[in-house]
């Protein structure tokens, strides 16, 4: 898990970008301190796909987020054009090479963060990119 120094700054903004032949859908969740830290979809956030425009978008309605944790999740699917596992692995690698999670509004601004990748080649061809960042 990464951390990002934000103090009482607001708004904090998130930008996720990816270049891939597949379809990528991204959402972010914030943990709920009143509910054992369970992640819930962030207020007023709507998922974006990689055919939507990429830009910094404020999180938590622009309110302060110090002490909370954000989970950024991108589901990458290949609805067509990938028939074999070798090509699938190449396509996921292309996406990994271009995937970027950035936050702005804290120190430094903007800042890029690490991510993990899990992929499944089965009746579905899907990969999942996740990052968790604690705001301090």
């Amino acid at each position: 898990m990464s951390s990002y120094t934000v103090g009482t700054n607001k708004p904090i903004k998130l930008k996720v970008s990816i270049s891939t032949v597949g379809h990528a859908t991204t959402a972010h969740y914030l943990n709920d301190p009143d509910n054992e830290g369970q992640f819930l979809v962030a207020p007023s956030s709507s998922p974006i796909s990689n055919t939507d425009s990429t830009s910094f978008r404020q999180i938590n309605n622009g309110e302060a987020v110090q002490g909370r944790t954000i989970r950024v999740r991108t589901i990458l699917t290949f609805p067509s054009g990938i028939d074999d596992e070798n090509t699938f692995n190449r396509a996921v690698q292309q996406a990994k090479n271009t995937y970027s999670v950035q936050l702005s509004g804290g120190t430094p601004s903007p800042e890029s963060f690490d991510f993990e990748v899990k992929s499944i080649f089965s009746i579905v061809k899907v990969a999942e990119f996740t990052s968790e960042i604690t705001f301090i």
Binding site: S80, T87, R90, Q94, I123
Partner: protein, 369 residues
């Protein structure tokens, strides 16, 4: 001995790639349509449309009664697509299928309402290396050739209604995943059991795989005779050529899987596989022009092609071709008729396309379970 060495060299990339992946022995075999096979007239068809966009594939072709009595294919190719080894910038699913925005200010998928007809030039480009053994109607015994080839799609034109259908199906697919990801407890494993997801995916897959109205493909190939100590043929250049082919696909019977294809092909060949009266090889230059009419009925395709060769030689090739998709794992291809340089009907070729890996388990052959 030399053939075995070349065969091993050709297989090195395939073997190296397959390490660590125990399920890839069959899934990357592809139909025998690489440029060098076509150049040497040993492919079932001289007119083809590139099908495979696999990062790496292995192609095999066995000619019936053509020196393959031990059952080991004598004609083998490794083909790869460079695009998969690059990092494309600003790529997305719709751009990959050559859709673009006529107005860049329109947000979302709906803005992708036009097409880049030249968008496949790099994405579909492939490079191949082949090893083949054949008499080519010139030698008394089969000789070994090594070849290199490249091909791509120069132009692909989609129908306007097909573009609209892609966007419609894409929006359905996109909406499902945006709903799916809103629940943090939904895992990607759940997609495999979601009928709603699988339907949206299959609908989108069908939409982007509609036959284009027109495709124009370009290929280049060079083949050289490997030095054979039993014959003094080492001075020959082998054969090289460049050709362009077009496919006009007309749907009929209101069925999305039925097409009449009108193919045309033009080809330049410099051929060193000619013997004079004193058994010496000499070169010829020739130009091929021809076409093919093919009827595609769901899984069965039947066609006839006629190609004339003019220049230093005057020949023709008249071939009937057939292709049948037995299952998603196996496709049979064949060609029967008169080849260039043949005095009679001598072509009888069969190729098998093995096992596209769908991740659904072992290769299944209907009727053999």
């Amino acid at each position: 001995m030399s053939s075995r060495i070349i065969l091993i060299l050709l297989l090195i990339p395939f073997a190296a790639w397959s390490q660590g992946d125990t399920n890839t022995q069959l899934q990357n075999l592809a139909p025998p349509s690489s440029p060098a096979f076509v150049l040497m007239d040993i492919s079932p068809s001289s007119v083809y449309t590139p099908e495979s966009l696999k990062a790496l594939s292995l192609q095999l072709l066995n000619g019936l009664g053509s020196g393959s009595s031990d059952g080991i294919p004598k004609n083998i190719a490794v083909e790869f697509v460079p695009f998969w080894y690059t990092t494309p910038k600003n790529m997305n699913f719709l751009k990959y299928y050559n859709l673009k925005k006529s107005d860049p200010n329109v947000e979302g998928a709906t803005g992708y309402d036009s097409q880049n007809v030249f968008g496949d030039i790099f994405k579909r480009a492939s490079v191949s290396f082949e090893f083949m053994e054949n008499t080519f109607e010139v030698f008394d015994s089969p000789q070994n050739f090594i070849s290199a080839g490249a091909r791509t799609t120069l132009v692909k034109v989609l129908r306007k209604q097909d573009i609209q259908n892609i966007i419609s199906k894409y929006n359905n697919y996109d909406a499902f995943l945006k709903k799916f990801i809103l629940d943090p407890n939904n895992s990607i494993e759940d997609l495999a059991t979601s009928e709603e997801y699988l339907k949206a995916r299959d609908d989108l897959n069908d939409a982007v795989n509609m036959k284009p109205l027109l495709t124009v493909d370009l290929a280049l190939a060079y083949s050289a005779l490997l030095n054979n100590s039993n014959a003094n043929f080492s001075d020959t250049l082998g054969r090289y050529g460049a050709w362009i082919s077009a496919d006009l696909a007309l749907g009929f019977a209101n069925n999305s899987n039925n097409y009449i294809h009108v193919h045309s092909v033009a080809r330049y060949i410099k051929d060193g596989l000619n013997l004079d009266a004193e058994n010496r090889l000499f070169n010829t230059e020739s130009y091929d022009i021809g076409g093919k009419l093919e009827i595609e009925l769901n899984k069965l395709s039947i066609g006839y092609e006629f190609i004339t060769r003019e220049g230093d030689v005057d020949e023709y090739r008249s071939i009937g071709t057939i292709r049948y998709e037995v299952s998603k794992s196996i496709t049979l291809t064949g060609g029967f008729g008169k080849n260039f340089k043949s005095e009679d009907n001598t072509i009888s070729l069969l190729g098998v396309k093995w096992g596209i890996n769908t991740g659904e388990g072992a290769l299944a052959i209907p009727g053999l379970q």
